[in-house]
């Protein structure tokens, strides 16, 4: 049977040599190399569940009156888009399961990308010849954030409507061109033209998925072309890779991981409620709810928007930099700019232009690790600041005091964390040196004992 299939394929596609090579491609052995795979599989779940949702979603902000099964909304005016999501959630069999799984998958997708990015950063996997692969990876993160935000906004419930307005405001605040770009994208001032929803929808279900899918394919092709990196170890060198082959070792594991990712996402989708849009009600520009928050992956931006005081930078009557730009746009631009430029910054600082197939441990490069830890601390502090209203609600710590605390902490915290990280790396390395020295001395002592004639 197997032989016959292979012969069929080889005769038609000439595939045998390629498959032979593919089956013996080597995967170096470390759990952290699987984080990128988790992101990939979450993306597959997103596509699969997303396709199902498109069969029920209506991309229109046309005003309709709800007459469905959910009593608190009966007789209310809402957009057709919102009604279709409420119906999909409450009346379509398995609709809620698929929608919730889609939403959890988006949350986990971006979490996995970030874990993968952290692994790549702190081990120096982005160095030549994988710098281009890394750039595509960072681009994938940016695209995924935008894609996820569009998906969140499409529902047109009270919470996401507020989110979209905030996104519009941040776009509006871009110096010199913001107003033009946003009026252009939205087809006029917020809430925009009727064609905004079809635009948003096609971008979310066609343009961005294709972009992400294509870049993902290139990303993976580049990984394969250059082979995986590996940690230092016995028999491993810059020229020699040690690992387990695709078949029989890797295939069952990767398939298992794919199914585990899908399984966990469906379990979450069925058992843990996410974004119960019917509870939020429809969006109208004049309404708002307390505790409106973006999904976690944009939490750092709400933190940024809350921390920066009302700094509209003006020259005469011209508003050069409107306030929301600092926290909502400049802050993520700095973070993303840092990620994009880092390989070149490091190359300039160290003068290291060589090819690298062996990974560093974080402690091997104390300066890089310190800078990375400082960046992570910075983003994390702003992120946590974004939930200070919930903290004040839960623990009664004054919101205003918290905001002032974080305003200080985002300046001091990263530097402090960086210094500590640097110190820890140094200590670990020093400890290793001592350990090596002792091992050498012990071996010598043993040798001296066993050969008394010396």
């Amino acid at each position: 049977m197997i032989r016959r299939t292979v012969r069929y394929l080889d005769q038609r596609a000439g595939a045998a040599p390629f498959v032979r090579k593919a089956l013996r491609y080597l995967f170096p052995d470390h759990w952290s190399f699987l984080l990128g795979e988790v992101a990939l599989y979450a993306f597959l779940v997103l596509v699969a569940t997303g396709v199902y949702l498109t069969f029920f979603f209506v991309d229109s902000t046309h005003d309709v009156v709800y007459h469905g099964s959910y009593l608190p909304l009966r007789g209310q005016h809402m957009s057709e888009a919102y009604r279709s999501v409420v119906d999909l959630s409450l009346s379509v069999k398995a609709g809620l399961l698929i929608r919730q799984t889609h939403h959890w998958a988006a949350n986990v997708f971006i979490a996995a990308i970030i874990l993968h990015l952290l692994r790549v950063f702190f081990t120096g996997a982005y160095r030549k010849p994988r710098d281009f692969t890394y750039l595509i990876g960072v681009t994938l993160l940016v695209l995924s954030l935008l894609e996820a935000f569009m998906g969140y906004s499409l529902v047109d419930d009270l919470m996401s409507g507020m989110g979209l307005f905030i996104g519009y405001s941040v776009g509006l605040s871009i110096p010199f061109v913001g107003a033009n770009v946003m009026a252009w994208l939205f087809g006029g001032a917020f809430p925009g033209a009727e064609s905004l929803w079809p635009r948003l929808y096609i971008a979310h279900v066609l343009l961005f998925p294709i972009l992400i899918g294509t870049l993902l394919a290139v990303h993976l092709a580049l990984v394969v072309a250059r082979h995986h990196t590996q940690f230092r170890g016995v028999r491993r060198s810059e020229r020699r890779i040690v690992g387990a082959p695709t078949w029989p070792a890797q295939v069952p594991r990767s398939l298992g991981l794919l199914l585990a990712v899908a399984g966990v996402l469906f379990l979450l989708g069925g058992l843990v409620q996410i974004n119960p849009v019917w509870l939020w009600g429809p969006f109208h520009t004049w309404q708002a709810t307390n505790g409106a928050q973006p999904d976690w992956y944009l939490g750092w931006l709400i933190g940024g928007l809350r921390l920066v005081p009302g700094w509209d930078f003006t020259i005469g009557r011209y508003t050069v930099v409107p306030g929301p730009f600092w926290g909502g746009a400049a802050f993520p631009l700095i973070v993303m700019g840092f990620l994009y430029l880092w390989p070149w910054l490091e190359r300039m600082a160290t003068g290291d232009r060589g090819f690298h197939n062996l990974l560093d441990r974080p402690r091997d490069r104390p300066v890089r690790t310190a800078i990375g830890v400082a960046m992570v601390t910075w983003v994390l502090l702003v992120f946590i600041a974004g939930s200070s209203d919930r903290v004040s609600d839960l623990f009664g710590i004054s919101y205003v005091d918290q905001i002032w605390f974080y305003r200080g902490a985002v300046l001091v915290g990263p530097a402090l964390a960086g210094v500590v990280a640097h110190r820890v790396c140094r200590e670990l390395l020093a400890g290793e040196a001592v350990e090596r020295e002792r091992a050498r001395a012990e071996t010598e002592a043993r040798l001296a004992r066993t050969s008394p004639g010396a």
Partner: protein, 235 residues
């Protein structure tokens, strides 16, 4: 000592009450818990930032005492729901006493069953969700913490709407009619146990707990799976 003197003074100031015994008990409780801020006779004290109780009626006294908002540990604090110091009968007596200080509305008797859930949802979004969050989970406003409404009884909701405790707006019958209030209460009662057919509700407060689940349940489990799968050829 001084409290007792005040109580005696108060006894002289009390207008004729229906039940002498109950009035006596109410007066004693007033002297014990309230007089230091609200003053003898409820007209307030110039040195303490506390309002006069004349004309607030049984409605206000019933609300503040049965929610545990009063007595406050210190004048000027935001009153919060806390453990009741007094039993129901003692509260009855104190409410009757405060009501006897002069006029004021009686304890309301709302009929949420007559209200409409949908009208309630709309009114709640219009007037209440900005502070209390769309399903009454509570929130934040600069300078105060709008409470979670889980423990608010229908009567307390009706009272709070009319009083506007601390920095909450006050809604008269003109702004929110009694029948609209019935609808709001019906919605709040619904929102205590809303339609959480999606599973574990995470408190219905939106993306913050969802983010925690993403990381500490979703991502953590999957990292664990990676650890299990990724370890090979050991030992």
């Amino acid at each position: 000592m001084s409290v007792r003197v005040l109580a005696v003074l108060l006894a002289l100031a009390v207008p004729g009450a229906a039940s002498a015994a109950r009035a006596q008990q109410g007066l004693a409780l007033y002297g014990r818990y309230c007089v230091s801020c609200h003053g003898p006779g409820g007209e307030g004290l110039p040195s303490v930032p506390a309002p006069s109780l004349r004309g607030v009626g049984a409605l206000a006294a019933d609300f503040y005492l049965r929610t545990g908002y009063m007595p406050l540990p210190r004048a000027g604090l935001q009153p919060r729901r806390s453990r009741l110091l007094l039993g129901p009968r003692a509260i009855d007596a104190l409410v009757a006493y405060v009501a006897s200080l002069g006029g004021g509305p009686p304890v309301p008797a709302p009929h949420p069953e007559r209200g409409s859930l949908s009208a309630g949802q709309q009114l709640f979004t219009e007037k209440c969700s900005g502070c209390h969050q769309i399903v009454g989970a509570g929130g934040y406003v600069t300078g105060a913490v709008p409470p979670n409404l889980d423990e608010a009884t229908p009567v307390q909701i009706a009272e709070a709407v009319r009083i506007g405790p601390y920095v909450m707006p006050t809604f008269t019958r003109k702004a929110i009619t009694d029948s609209q209030l019935d609808s709001i209460i019906r919605y709040v009662e619904f929102a205590k146990h809303p339609d959480n057919r999606g599973g574990w509700s995470l408190g219905d407060v939106g993306p913050v707990p969802e983010g925690l689940v993403t990381w500490f349940l979703g991502a953590s489990v999957l990292v664990g799976v990676c650890l299990v799968i990724g370890r090979r050829l050991r030992g």
